[in-house]
Amino acid sequence: MKFGVVVFPGSNCDDDMIHVLGDVMKSEVVKVWHKDTGLPGFNTSDCIVLPGGFAYGDYLRCGALAGLSPIMSAVKDFAAKGGMVVGICNGFQVLCEAGLLPGVLLANSSQKFICKNIHLKIENNETPFTRLTSKGDVLKIPIAHAEGRYYADENILGQLEMNNQVLFRYCSPTGEVADEYNPNGASRNIAGICNEGRNVFGMMPHPERASEEILGNTDGRILFESLLNHVLESA
């Protein structure tokens, strides 16, 4: 299994993701340039990651310009064939703007950038991205965003819930989901979702910042381990 990390102009968590996937998880990982029009060398057991950052400076709207970049046509084709795509933070915003995931990320209710550790409750562990977790598990993972308030209309939210597409919700350290643990005002405390096909995943928190002992937090590793485990099991 190979990972491709897309570098948009303004991506700034690309190196962090490559470090964790390569140096920590010991997986094969390459950079993919945003001007590329295809994904040669990748097959459906591989995974494309859209990292965090400020693609195109967040101009116009977070993720809007990146969603239209040449590589995204290739990523859509790749996803349509069943390839796995993960978007973290700005990458999640790009996936929503590109139409690969429903909904949109709005400005935080505080109108401020927020960087801190938050807690996530696992809502669905039956996906490649969460398969090694247990439903109800709580992970401590940091957020760092100004536009992380997940929003979708009631109709879409209903569908997400019905199809079990909500992966993570913001919660207390003990797993209680309530307004006071919602850092950005996200609809129904949603922190991460997947598509119906269970092969496109987006989340605002940064698991790659919580995957090394020296950083004092390894709660994020289990998500990368899940992806690797999924491919291993499917092979």
């Binding site: 700034n12 962090d16 101009y59 401020k112 950038f113 960087c115 760092a144 910042r209 950083l215 004092g216």
Partner: protein, 746 residues
Amino acid sequence: MQVNDVLPDLVTAKNLGLTEDEFEKIKQILGRHPNFTELSIYAVMWSEHCSYKNSIKYLKTLPRDGKKLLVAAGEENAGLIDIGDRLACAFKIESHNHPSALEPFQGAATGVGGIHRDIFTMGARPIASLNSLRFGNIETPHMQRLIKGVVSGIGHYGNCFGVPTVGGEIFFNDCYNQNILVNAMSVGIVKHGETVSATAAKPGNLVLIVGSATGKDGIHGATFASADLTEDSAEDLPAVQVGDPFQEKLLLEASLEAIAANAVDGMQDMGAAGITCSTSEMSAKAGLGMKIDLSKVPTRQKNMHAWEILLSESQERMLVVCEPGKEKILFDIYDKWDLECEIIGEVTEGPMLEFYEGNTLVAEVPAESLVLGGGAPVYDREYTSPEYLEKIKAFKTSSIPTPDDIVQTAKKVMSSPNLVSKRWIYEQYDSMVRTNTVTTNAPSDAAVSYVKGTSKAIAMTTDCNPAYVFADPFKGTMIAVSEAARNIVCSGGEPVGVTNCLNFGNPYNPEVYWQFVHAIKGMGEACRRFETPVTGGNVSFYNQSQIGNQTIPVYPTPTIGMVGILEDASNHTTLDFKNTKDIIYLLGQTQNDLGSSEYIRSIYNVEYSNCPYFNIDDEIKLHDVIKKLIKQKIVSSVHDVSDGGMLATLLESAFVNDKGFKIDTEDNIRIDVALFGESQSRAIISMSETNEARIQELLLNNNIPFTRLGVVTDGEITVNNIDFGQITDWKKTFETKIENILEHKS
């Protein structure tokens, strides 16, 4: 030479910030009358900001050599220190005070952008930034607007650029009511042999401008920074630059790629005085000249005058020098990153800098005559001991009564904006991007970032208590250096180098200049003792406010940025109490001294009092013993005693894990002096019972005074058998005070 209709006169020269003597000197250098463009070039290059004309004499007395220094101080854009493993650390701090006072968001943002460019123009990748901020009264709407603007400007730039903000400090005092201070520091890592010098290298080399197009923003910014801030300064708004962190991110990646491709022979960022400064400094450094065609410079608007292009401080630009033949590599790389890249001239034998517009020569000046260390003026100002020192001498600690209700007094002291958590601010900064920051999850006195691919970590801090420096510039600045070193040592590091940001009032005021001269002497003395050379930095004069007919200088604020190394990152030591029943010691001796404490300022409104007790030999002894304790891995936490005194230190150690403490203060010391006195060279350590005997032995062998204060508890706080309540109550005020003020919550 283009002949202007009217050659500028002395009035014009003075309007540009030059003195009569300087105007005469320019005419002498050129052997003729300068035209307006040339006069503008001299005005900006000889401004305080670019020439250091009123400070360089004293800056040269600072220790500038050290065995780990890879470039001599002042030789390049930032200091460069060997950290082993064939890696080097580049670091520098710089002020952006005047722009931030006028337009806080852009002023602070471009301050961050500018200091990062100083680092990556040397080939280093920035891995961390810090900032040191000084604000006035937080209760006023004007100041709240400035605070919010500065914080969101720093966050906007750093977060988007993708470099974590890992540390900093904030101090509030009315002396900054109209003239806030915004000092930003950047720290980068570069492999040996991959550094780039700010030089024109050799004749025949091509000169390129890369990055953003040039606009009319920030013209005369350096001149503006070199004058008093007045009520009319708002009319200088065009002198404030506008930042675009997205462009800077592209410029960073493209420039490091160009350096790695071996296509760059010299590189200099464009900060103050734009093309003028970068062309003259790169030329002068190589003893050469340049021939530049300004019509080749990509501009944002048509019909810009030559002097506007020369002086524009548009952000996110670099001047690159390369050997002929390598330009194709540069074009390809900057095109890949969608950035401008144009050849605008070539390096000549010199000594002249020749600026053309097409075929018309619009300015011609000797490069050497413009720069610091060359023809730029050097002044030695007169200074006199300030009158206010008499009031400081008159203060006696014994004049302060011991409060009746120590608990209520403590609550009031600890709710001072200077002592409470700055969480509302630092949560708006991304502290974790690049995944090097150890201290987000494991706080210590200094910020610590590990260096990937090695076992090392870098410790970083900025420090200066300006109230101490006001009371005694010499001793106060020694304390600033000592506190910085103490923070690094308490975190498990070895201090290796200093960068300074010298924020003072008007140098033509003899009392201000006295403060400056004595601060530099104190800094030199302390840096020599800690063997931490001063690798560079910046001077910001003219920080003062005009209130009615009175001009009030800010407190002298020589901010110290210090970098240290942890050879073994596992020696990182945190400040938090970890286990109930762990034993708490105070290292060092509390003196009977309340001078310059937050306590007497916040409770008794004392404005003039002595600088706290300080003895550098005690300080060095303390550092040595802390290093030993950490190396033997027998302490659970180390936290230095600084602003707010011992109670502030104990509370900060307790907050992290919601622990409390039961202590008895030292015998023969008043309880308020013990809890709030800020006498120096002290630290609080905690340890498990099993390690106590070994620690005691080590302390006794090293002849360090210490006191067994008590033990860590589950959350209740008791001092001398007085009930101080629960840690969670103290924590609530600590964490929400700033937020409540700025967001008008009660």
